[in-house]
């Protein structure tokens, strides 16, 4: 046991999210660092895969339920569960209780998990209160508010509060920062023409800010925006906000950019 006069650090299970796990593990590393710097004891349950949102949004309720049960089991017993994504955190926090509305036992477990699940920015800002931010980044940023984080979880001011702690970071707001980017999970591959129209409006809004970097809290949206930016030949950089806050931008080039060639 620790000295009983000392506060025990909260235990936080990192829900990495399938996209970060597969596509951009450095966001997971950044999240771990941010949580650690804020004084949390971070755990990474290694059997985690996905929150089940693709199944849920495609109408496959049965698989969504089974995947949810798996997540509920994986993250039992921890003080908090934190995901570097508003969409995945929203799935657990808002939608898990809904998908078990007809199953009392699992509903209770889903609600218990829901109550201690947070999106990374809101956890750092609202629960850990004024954490130390060690990031250091010089540049002009604009921020894309992803839909689920914004509308399901109320993530708006939190990332901005945290970004204001980074010296050298200048934030320029897009007029349509809250507009959907046109990702929508399977939507963007099922209806690519409509998705193109929507992401183009988002990209135009980003370009109009004159920012050199776009930050956001959801990798799905960021991959969509980054993919459209490079397709349109823009060199505006896209990163997850956690990378900048944690000061780990050296771990990976901006999303969709090549790794710098090693000299010598």
């Amino acid at each position: 046991m620790n000295d009983s006069t000392q506060m025990t650090p909260p235990t936080v299970g990192l829900f990495v999210t399938c996209l970060v796990d597969l596509m951009r593990p450095s966001v997971g590393t950044a999240a771990m660092k941010l949580l650690g710097d804020a004084g949390c004891q971070v755990y990474v349950p290694i059997s985690q895969t996905c929150c089940g949102q693709p199944a849920y949004n495609a109408g496959d309720l049965l698989d969504a339920q089974e995947i949810a049960k798996q997540v509920i089991g994986d993250f039992a017993g921890l003080d908090y569960v934190v995901a570097p994504s508003g969409s995945c955190a929203g799935m657990i926090k808002v939608h898990y209780p809904r998908i078990f509305k007809d199953n009392q036992d699992w509903l209770e477990r889903a609600e218990e998990l829901s109550a201690r699940t947070y999106e990374l920015m809101s956890f750092l800002n609202d629960v850990m209160k004024d954490p130390e931010i060690l990031g250091d980044y010089t540049g002009t940023m604009t921020y894309h508010d992803s839909c689920s984080g914004l509308r399901e979880l109320g993530v708006k001011q939190q990332p901005r509060n945290l970004m204001s702690k980074v010296p050298g970071l200048k934030l320029v707001e897009g007029a349509e920062a809250e507009a959907c980017c046109g990702f929508g999970g399977l939507f963007c591959v099922k209806y690519p023409d409509i998705s193109e129209k929507i992401v183009d409006a988002k990209v135009d809004d980003i370009l109009a800010t004159g920012a050199d970097t776009v930050l956001g809290g959801d990798l799905g949206c960021l991959m969509n925006v980054a993919g459209r930016l490079t397709r349109r030949g823009s060199d505006v950089k896209v990163r997850h906000v956690a990378e900048v806050l944690a000061g780990t931008t050296g771990l990976a080039p901006p999303i969709g950019h090549p790794k710098p060639k090693v000299k010598g």
């Binding site: 985690q48 509308r151 959907c180 409509i194 090549p258």
Partner: protein, 473 residues
């Protein structure tokens, strides 16, 4: 009209390359949402009013039968008559019958979405009766033989030049070389043409934004005053409305009015708000001699108590269209029938069947903007998802995506297998992703058609985490 919702994808592709439509949609996107925002900002209690509006409609739906009976009793007491129509066909037959009884040759109409839903103009024309739309937008699309592209702004898809061309073709009595570049000039011309039509009409047909149970009144809101001329000049007034338009009291009607125009156009109130209660009384100077209300069910009572019950709260303000990224991209006609946007994507499968409207609930990013701004707080994204669940359960989802999803879910539920597959896939992608992105990938055409696919960084996070834990030991 014959719905084309089954070819939504084709409709949407055509809409995306239609430059004049895109020009009109860009104007809409800049107009309505900002006007709503400003109107709502001016009223501190707006969100409380939304709660009150939602609660009124919830009570109405829970007690629909008793309110409808009360309404009918009041209408009769005021000297009017209520006609019950189960289907669109029945409603059209009733209305055509009433027009024939009145010996009508021409009827004026003010804007009615139920009129569009039941295709009333076609039925009237088949019976040799000439319907004249008197709402400017409806008048324009009637001349062009088009369906409305927006539930409150039916001609929003058109540019002023297109309207000018339509007027030049339709109004042959006017000089061909007249200038029609100013909205005001177009409006004046339509008013002049319509004036005689108002006077000539034998029957006036209106919709109703609300039906007030305690008084038997109908409430009609417009910005042009055309509904007032439609309902007061002819000797017969027929109002057609769907059942759920009922509200218990006049007080409730005012609460709904306070959220309606603000949500729709950003006006505090629409320019005209007219209550009609029964036909002309002996002491009245004018008004219709007969007052009929046709109440349409058309599938709505089937929605009561089910998954789409809350959709019946809708007051048809159009705010969800104005704020929807899909609607703003493709416009209303792409949805293939008279409704559109999020409310249409939930309602149309109920009215036409999900078999012919299968794309509508899927063509959404579930961004949640519609729910955020809905004046009666309808959980539209949940309902879109509910349709997807029904489609999945009925296995009408395309077999390719159904199969893909099942394979994916199979692996996600088996972490060891998932890790094995992820490792295999990532090491392969890494070999080819040196530029940091892919501009083409097999099985991901929908993605790479529009945007590059960012290459994965390397091994998965969980893999790296396990390696670092090993090193620590």
């Amino acid at each position: 009209m014959k719905p084309t919702s089954d070819v939504f994808i084709n409709n949407s592709r055509e809409a995306l390359v239609n430059d004049t439509l895109q020009e009109a949609l860009a104007k809409l996107a800049q107009g309505f949402p900002l006007k709503r925002f400003n109107a709502v900002s001016r009223l501190a209690e707006f969100d409380d009013l939304r709660d009150a509006a939602r609660d009124i409609k919830t009570d109405v739906l829970n007690n629909l039968d008793s309110y409808l009976e009360k309404f009918e009793a009041q209408v009769i007491k005021q000297g009017g008559k209520v006609h019950w129509a189960r289907t669109a066909d029945e409603a059209c037959k009733i209305i055509v019958g009433l027009c024939e009884d009145a010996g009508a040759r021409t009827v004026t109409k003010s804007k009615s979405m139920i009129g569009e839903e039941i295709a009333l103009n076609e039925s009237l024309e088949d019976a040799g009766i000439v319907p004249v739309e008197t709402d400017l937008g409806e008048y324009i699309i009637q001349l062009r033989k088009e369906p409305p592209s927006h539930i409150i702004a039916p001609a929003i898809h058109l540019t002023i030049e297109q309207v000018a061309d339509t007027f030049k073709e339709a109004h042959q009595d006017y000089p061909a070389d007249r200038a029609l570049t100013e909205p005001r000039v177009l409006l004046d011309e339509a008013r002049q043409v319509l004036r005689q039509r108002f006077i000539d009409a034998d029957v006036g047909i209106t919709g109703a934004n609300m039906l007030v149970a305690e008084t038997g009144s109908i409430v009609v809101v417009t910005n042009e005053g055309n509904a007032d001329l439609t309902m007061t000049l002819p000797k017969v007034h027929i109002a057609v409305a769907s059942l759920e338009k009922i509200v218990p009291t006049l007080e409730d009607a005012t609460t709904l009015m306070r959220v309606l125009a603000r949500s729709a156009t950003g006006q505090d109130m629409s320019v005209y708000t007219t209550l009609a209660t029964g036909p002309k009384r002996d002491e009245d100077q004018d008004g219709p001699e007969a007052f009929h209300i046709v109440l349409l069910d058309n599938g709505r009572t089937d929605m009561l108590g089910g998954d789409f019950h809350e959709m019946l709260r809708c007051i048809r303000c159009g705010a969800c269209l104005n704020h929807c990224p899909i609607y703003k991209s493709v416009g209303g006609h792409a949805y293939g029938w008279v409704y559109s946007g999020p409310m249409g994507a939930v309602l149309m499968p109920n009215l036409l069947g999900i078999g012919k409207t299968g794309d509508l609930p899927n063509a959404s990013t579930l961004c949640g903007k519609c729910e955020e701004i809905c004046p009666v707080r309808i959980p539209l994204p949940d309902m879109l998802r509910q349709w997807r669940t029904r489609q999945f359960d009925a296995a009408v989802t395309s077999s390719k995506s159904h199969f893909g999803l099942k394979v994916w879910a199979y692996m996600v539920k088996r972490p060891l297998l998932y890790r094995f597959f992820v490792s295999f896939m990532l090491s392969n992608l890494r070999k080819f992703g040196r530029k940091g992105r892919f501009n083409w990938l097999p099985f991901a055409k929908g993605w790479t058609q529009v945007r590059d696919f960012p290459a994965p960084e390397g091994q998965s996070f969980i893999h790296q985490y396990l390696m670092s834990q090993k090193r620590k030991r």
